[in-house]
């Protein structure tokens, strides 16, 4: 039996009805240079996904929907990285003192965008994201950025848990290993979110 058949029979692999129009926002998670600068040990070889992220960001601006762009930000002492910092030494590459912590060209928040600095994988955890999206009347969240197994998966799960429809844009997210990327997209699709390509997301935003 194929895995998807087994999941469907189990009552997983359900679908949110994206045919119903909902107020939508785009969130781009952690588009920072530590993933794209080959000199950084965290370099992930995700250039293709990053190019699609930039196209998707342009789509969202064209459609005039709210855009949130996140980055990790911690005190140099590591105090507010807490247990996460002790578990993941790589958080040092995101510190402002690191040469790799800047936004990837073309993916920095513009004046109309909402920049969100977070300390943990999920953009919803210990931030005002759910509050701000509620204030803006948003019901559905397009999710792009890095990386699929970490912050994307955590944010997709939390979007669902906070009452927003999560839509992960599958070609605008990336991870360091292809099997990790694919495996996590499978889990996300089965249990938390819809998957759309950037072309499909463009249509969802009402663009030609």
């Amino acid at each position: 039996m194929r895995a998807t058949d087994d999941y469907t029979r189990a009552g997983l692999q359900g679908s949110l009805d994206l045919g119903v129009a909902q107020p939508t926002a785009l969130i781009v998670i952690d588009p920072v240079e530590c993933y794209t600068d080959p000199a950084c040990p965290l370099y992930a070889g995700v250039e293709e996904s990053v190019a699609v992220m930039a196209d998707l960001l342009a789509d969202a601006h064209e459609a005039g929907v709210p855009v949130v762009i996140t980055r990790l930000g911690h005190h140099p002492s590591g105090l507010d990285a807490s247990v996460y910092g002790r578990k993941i030494p790589a958080l040092r590459w995101y510190l402002e003192e690191s040469p790799y912590s800047g936004y990837i060209d073309g993916l920095a928040p513009g004046p109309r965008d909402i920049e969100l600095v977070k300390q943990y994988p999920s953009a919803f955890v210990h931030t005002t994201l759910a509050s701000t999206l509620t204030f803006l009347g948003i019901r559905r969240l397009l999710i792009a950025g890095l990386s699929t197994s970490g912050c994307i998966r955590a944010t997709a799960t939390d979007a669902l848990q906070y009452g927003f429809e999560p839509v992960v844009v599958s070609d605008a997210v990336g991870d360091r290993l292809e099997e990790t990327h694919t495996g996590n997209l499978f889990d996300i699709r089965a249990k938390s979110a819809e998957l759309l390509t950037r072309r499909e997301a463009r249509t969802l935003l009402g663009l030609a």
């Binding site: 507010d80 807490s82 247990v83 909402i114 300390q119 943990y120 210990h126 005002t128 701000t132 204030f135």
Partner: protein
Amino acid sequence: MTAASIAGTVRRPAVLVVDAATVVVDPLGAAGAAAVAGATVVVGAARQAGLLVVHSRLAFRADGLDGGHWFRRNPGLAVHAGSMPPPCPGLAPAASELVVTRSFPSAFFGTSLAATLRGAAVDCVVLVGATTSGGIRAAAIDALQNGFLPVVVADAVADATTTAHEAALNDLSAQYAEVCSAALTTDLFQRVRPI
């Protein structure tokens, strides 16, 4: 509660300094100045005892979007939008101390403060700053709800009117927090043995 009985309950207090900024405290007049003096004593004692001192400050985007309905209905919050106004002299954060920015009343809402305190093995939050009925009350209740013992230092917090200050302290003392003096708090810091 006495310092001895609180010390018997907690192992590692931290001090949370709420909105110790001149734009907040100066309009409170003599009460504000007295609270800054009290808070300075508490923060000094905490630093001497090697306890964690964390600062909470309001900070909004220039357009206040991150403050939602709260920012929209309170024009006075605009002084915290765009850039952060200066701290009260004597209560400025040390370089090693964390400043947790927020855009709603409670220092715990939409911030990683609770996770930071847990990660540092803190079990008690000592509150100083302003205002008693606003940021102090909100943080005290959320400290309690997050599992920390809240201690509000009565002579290190202030509000726009004596009525608001006393009403808030009465509610906090009745339902949520220990209300202590600065002297009692510094005594507490000498009794606890940091981990």
